[in-house]
Structure formats: structure tokens, C-alpha cells
Symmetry: C2
Subunit: 424 residues, 2 copies
């Protein structure tokens, strides 16, 4: 069966369409945090952030069917739904976020954010980290630096992402380290300012998810934002992974301690319905609209509005932020205790229900052990827990379950994790 599906896939989607796990997993059904294969085998989903309020959430199914069965058209007619949604979304931010441009994917929303910053500043240069990914279009791909690969482009500069585990300055205090990373940002800003492109803005995932969820030296984000603004740039927070209560509060930038000018959201917004958004001040949004006459066929639709509202309302009603904070803190503490007796667990990081466990060789040099990371991911899958590996060296176990992941799921996972660790 799997072999047949793989062969059809190779033909119909092309060779190399990405798949998870050494032996790919065939899924047929989901419910809450659970996913099921064709044999009825149940897996606890500890990877997927898109179905944030649970697979097959009935509120989403109901909102989707009701709205699609009532009206779903483009946004050049008046409709209250998208206004109610936009009001609700902007209301989840501080007063500087007033208006929103809705789109269909994180990539589209990042495109809008980058162009917004360029229009507002009249400059082109963007600074990102040296291990980031913000989307797959031609313009956004210029930022891609996964695996620390080079990606030269005149209007992009990258800075080393701030971290304490493999710092750019050995033996430094956290304050000295923060200064060292900020000096690199300063350098990048000056380099762009000295170039024809100029400096338009800084884009960061608020919790540096693709960088491997590093512990960020205290104060870095707030000072980086201040430095950016002092140089006339705008601060773009990519909240596609960090936002929507992933960290136990609505926005990753709250946890990381900074205030963005432009906020991009995506993945969890529609619990699986394609939708994304770029939110900012009305002045920034107005200028973008005036310059582009932006229209997006499928976006700002009654369908996106209804489903988007259902997701926000469910998160609020079920108080999922508190669940994420409590279960996440407990899981992180428990994972941290596993370092004792397992020299290959180099570090446990993250916040809320987005945790990373760095797997290394026990060689005193923190050498990434991708082979063991993949083996653990595969072994967890065989025991019914779906995770993945991430980070710049692909050696970070990534735990990012739906927000409805509860204490009982964490406990079941820890039992399986202990068995997998013991077998290493």
C-alpha cells in the first residue's frame, strides 16, 4: 500500500515532494491531538501547529460548512464577516496595530510585510538571521538561510541569530554576549545604509523557531527593535509559528519582550483553511494599499472570516493560552530532568508548547548528532508520537503539538520518550 502510494506520488507530485520519517506515515483520520493510520493505529500529534484547536475541530467544521453554504465571495463587496474578524485580530495586539491585509499563506503575508516596509521607508534593504526561513516565493526566498547556507542578494543582510548555547563569543557573560550580537546588527544596518539599497527593516521570527528555538540573551530583542527604529527601519515580527498562543500567550513578541511595527500571522489562523495576515498601523496599511491596489482573490472572504473567528473564539473560550503555559512548562521541566544520565541531550529549550531538545555527541564539543535525532524521531513515531527534527543542524527534536495537547498526553509522551531514550 505504502509502496503504491509512493510510486503514484512520485509520478503525480514529482520526485522529491517532501515526506516525513524514514518510513513515511499514511494518515486517514484525525481528532483532537490524535491522528490515525489506515489500520486504526493511533498517534499523538506533537508536531502540527496548523490544527491548533485540534484535528477535525467541530467548531471549525461547523463554521466552514455554514459559511460556505451561505456565502463565500471575494472582498470587493461589503461583508461584515471580514470586518468582525479584522477587529478581533487587531484587538489582540497593542494599539499600534490597527489594520490588516489578509492573504492566503504565510509567504503571501511576508511578501506584503516586506513591501510595506520598503514603501514606508523608501528603502530596500532587509536584515534577517543567518538561519531563517520566511516563505517560498522568489522575493521571500531571498531570506532563506536554513542550514546556514549562503544566499547572496544585494538587498538582504543576515546576522548571526542570538543564542547562548553555541554563542559567537565563548566565555562571555550574557550581557556581553547580547552586546556582541547587537554589534553584528549594527554592522549590518551600517552596511545597508552605505549601499544603494538603504535599510528598510529587520524581520525576525519572534521566538527564532527555525533557528532551533535558542535561548536569546536577555534584552536582545527589545534593543534590536530600538536600534532598528533609531536607524529609520521597521520591525517585522514573523508570528506565523510564534503566535496564536503557541507560547502560552497570544504573541511570541510578548515572551521575547519587544513591540513590532508589522506582525505576520499564518499557519494556525484557519485550523487548516489557508489564511494569513499582515497587521500594522493604519498609516502603514494605507500606504501599502495606495501603492499596490492590492487584491487577493481568495482572501478577506466570508469563509476565511467565519473560520478565523471560530478559531479565535475557541482559543479564548477554552482558555488554551493557560493550557499551553501550564502543560508546556511541565513538559519542559520534565524534559530538562532527562539530561541527567543522557549525555546526548545537549539542551532543552523553548516556551509554551514549542519545545526543542538538542541531540549531540557526548564529546564535549556539542557536535550535532543528526543520525541519533532521526532515530529518536522514528522510534517515537513507532511508539505512537509524531515529532520531527529541526534547527540549523537538524539535530533538534521539535515538539509543537496542537494547543489542545493536555497533561495526560504529556505524561503518555514522557513514558514513551523514556523508553526511547533507554534504548539509545
Amino acid at each position: 500500500m505504502t509502496a503504491e502510494l509512493l510510486a503514484r506520488r512520485d509520478t503525480l507530485l514529482g520526485t522529491g515532494a517532501p515526506l516525513f520519517y524514514t518510513t513515511p506515515l499514511h494518515l486517514v483520520r484525525g481528532e483532537g491531538v490524535y491522528l490515525y493510520d489506515p489500520d486504526g493505529r493511533r498517534y499523538v500529534d506533537m508536531y502540527n501547529n496548523v490544527p491548533c484547536i485540534g484535528h477535525a475541530n467541530p467548531d471549525v467544521v461547523e463554521a466552514m460548512a455554514r459559511q460556505q453554504g451561505t456565502l463565500n465571495v471575494h472582498s470587493r463587496y461589503l461583508h461584515e464577516g471580514i470586518l468582525d474578524f479584522a477587529e478581533r485580530l487587531t484587538g489582540l495586539h497593542g494599539p499600534q496595530i490597527e489594520s490588516v491585509i489578509v492573504s492566503c499563506s504565510g509567504t503571501e503575508a511576508i511578501e506584503v510585510a516586506l513591501r510595506m516596509a520598503k514603501f514606508a521607508t523608501g528603502r530596500q534593504g532587509i536584515i534577517c538571521t543567518n538561519a531563517t526561513y520566511h516563505g517560498n516565493s522568489e522575493a521571500v526566498s531571498k531570506l532563506t538561510r536554513l542550514s546556514l547556507s549562503q544566499n547572496a542578494s544585494a538587498d538582504v543582510r543576515s546576522i548571526p541569530f542570538p543564542e547562548t548555547y553555541r554563542p559567537i563569543l565563548e566565555g562571555a557573560t550574557e550581557a556581553e554576549l547580547c552586546d556582541a550580537y547587537l554589534a553584528r546588527l549594527e554592522e549590518a544596518i551600517r552596511s545597508l545604509q552605505a549601499s544603494p539599497e538603504g535599510f528598510a527593516g529587520l524581520i525576525l521570527c519572534s521566538i527564532l523557531a527555525n533557528e532551533g528555538l535558542p535561548d536569546i540573551p536577555a534584552g536582545f530583542m527589545a534593543r534590536a527593535a530600538a536600534m532598528t527604529r533609531a536607524a529609520g527601519g521597521l520591525v517585522i515580527a514573523d508570528e506565523v509559528q510564534a503566535g496564536y498562543c503557541r507560547t502560552g500567550t497570544w504573541w511570541g513578541y510578548t515572551v521575547s519582550g519587544f513591540t513590532p511595527d508589522i506582525v505576520v500571522t499564518g499557519k494556525p489562523m484557519g485550523n487548516g483553511l489557508p489564511m494569513a495576515a499582515t497587521a500594522a498601523s493604519k498609516a502603514l496599511v494605507d500606504e501599502f494599499r495606495a501603492r499596490t491596489r492590492y487584491f487577493n482573490t481568495f482572501a478577506s472572504s466570508p469563509l476565511q472570516a467565519a473560520v478565523g473567528l471560530a478559531v479565535i473564539e475557541y482559543i479564548e473560550r477554552e482558555n488554551l493560552a493557560a493550557n499551553v503555559a501550564t502543560v508546556g512548562a511541565g513538559l519542559k521541566a520534565a524534559l530538562t530532568t532527562r539530561k541527567a544520565g543522557h549525555g546526548f541531550i545537549g539542551d532543552v529549550r523553548g516556551v509554551g508548547l514549542f519545545l526543542g531538545v538538542e541531540i549531540i555527541r557526548d564529546d564535549g564539543a556539542k557536535t550535532p548528532d543528526v543520525e541519533r535525532t532521526v532515530a529518536i524521531v522514528d522510534a517515537l513515531k513507532d511508539r505512537g508520537f509524531l515529532t520531527s527534527n529541526a534547527g540549523i543542524f537538524r539535530n533538534v527534536l521539535k515538539f509543537r503539538p496542537p494547543l489542545v495537547f493536555r497533561q495526560e498526553h504529556a505524561e503518555a509522551f514522557l513514558e514513551a520518550f523514556d523508553a526511547v531514550l533507554a534504548a539509545q
Copy 2:
């Protein structure tokens, strides 16, 4: 009510979010070809191609609810749905179209197509028409030439779109005119070949929709495709508007008489669910995948697959291609008879259920009359028929109803149209 919605919209979506009609229309419900305002007033939708099998189509609602209530995850797990859909979609083309990359919007799908052509040829230069629009991302916007505006970019050349109504060569035979337009294509190819960018491909909406649905000199498309291939380029057909039986057959390229290497589809695919696709030979898709490791969070999902299949199956089962061909031909013939006695009707063009009526001053110079066009669009709305104005001068009445638009709707429309014409 409308004033309040407009004020909220201005705040929440920003000033200048596009709206239709001099007095914008507030919609609350749809069914088949009908749309309803809050007072229960019924409108015949003669504009929307996205809800191709009808507003609130129950098959789509059912497929959407069933799949979202069963499983909707990203594409790095095995799932049969997306393979069944890809098989069905590629099967609607000739044997050169074997594989597909699914995405969430026409813009994303055009991005894929352009990069596919660039990777395959190792060159960067793209040729489009001088009055086109293919999407809103930074890379795709480089092609935008609506209203014949300039948009200079080293890797893009534009050619005059082929037409017989305002031809580049007055008094020429159709064959001479075809040669004249092809000479401009030849010139653009040579210009790119002489530049560092080189020639990667030609992108055309198969029926030149945004150009105003011109009558294309016979043979142009086939010869342009042959000329492109002879110069080592690829032919990209933008079927976002032209495809999915809009012309009375599955693909606009069939009507226009050429065979593309890459086909982009979008708007009608999900009857309102965001989805789009870039289909090509397996070799082209494989190379794109190898070069990009492309992944799109919301695309190739079980939800897109279920809804996408439901749409294709409905079109086939209800034989909508035949409906479009018959009703469209009748409507076009009827519209053409209205030229007599109305000097401001300059031309009636298009095929299937995508028709354009050019409104001009009766001055012997075919001067576009945008004011009258807008007045007719507003008057038709007041009589319960939703249309819009398009084309390079915005003076073409655009009729593009859902594919379930029937003879009875055409007859009701013609009655209203005659009354509006009489009042001019």
C-alpha cells in the same frame, strides 16, 4: 448601514481596499447564480468565476465539511486524496502534462511556473503582453502592465497583445497582422537573448482575459508557441481565468489553438476554497522540486483534494462545458445584434461564458467611453445583474458568470440589458 460598514472597513482593512460599484454592494447570501443583499434583494451574478459550480454548491459544502471533519493536514504524510486529485487534474490535459505542484493562490502558482521555466532553461527572461496581470507578489508584479502602464525590469519584456479591433497595423489583412504581432515577439526574444538574462519563456493568459478578450489573429498563439520553443523557451499558459470550462471546453488553450509546457490554474478550482496549481511534464516538476525542496503548508492538503475533486466531478457530471458553450454562444449572438442602433457598442468579443462588450464614443475613432461603461455597470446592478468593467481602458463590459448560468438567466439579463441600453 453601508456608511457604517465603509467606515469600519476604512479603519480595519485600510483606506483603498478595492470595492465594486459607485455605491458598493452589501451581500449576505448566495445560491447558484444568485446573490442576495440584506433586504433580500436578488442579483444574478454575471461576474464571479470562482464559485464556478454555483454559490453555496451543496457538493462543495459536503466535501468541505466531510474532509475537514475527517482529516486535514499538510502534505508530508501520505494521503490518497491529493494523488486522486492530481491524477484527475493532469488527466484533463494532453500527455505532456504529467505532474502538478499545488499551491494556495494564482500568484503562488505563477511564481512556481516562472521559477520552473527559469530552472529548466537556466535563463531568466520572461515575455508577457503589454496589458497583463498574473498576480500580486514582488516577482509576479514585475509582469503587471494593466492599463498599458510601464513596468521596467531587466528580466521582463512585453509585446503588444494581439488583437484585431485596435490593431498595430491599420488596413492589414488578418494574416499580415498576425505576422506583425509575431515580429514583435521575435524582437522581444532577440532582445532577451542579447541580454545577460537570456530567454526563459513566454507567459500568456490563453484567452488574454485582462487584455479585454481580444479577437486574436488566427494562428498567432500556435506560431508564438512554436517560436518560443524554437528559441529554447517554455510556453506558460495562465488558465486561472481561461480554464475549467470557462470557454465551453476544459482549457482556453484548446480554443486558442496552442499547447503549453506549463499550465497554471487557480480561481475556480475550489469553488471558493483557496487553491491553485502548476502542472507540467514530470521532468519540469522534478527539476523544480530538486532545486527548491518546495513545501507549501496549506497546499496539497486532504481538504484541497476533496473540494478540488468535488468541483471537477460536478462539472463533468452536470456537463457544464456543454452548457457554457450553448448559453455562451447564444448570449454572444444576442449581444452582437445589439450593436445595430447603438453606436456606443464598439465590439462584442469572447467565447463561452466569458464575454466582453466594448463601449466607445460614437466618434469614428473607437474612443473608449469609461464613463458610459461604468454607468451601464451601475444600471445593470440596479436592475439586479452583477457585472464589471475590464480591459486596458476599463471600457469593456465583462460578463463571466458561474458555469451554472442557464438560458433563462441569459434571457432575463438581455431584457434588463435592453432597458439599460434604451436609457442611454
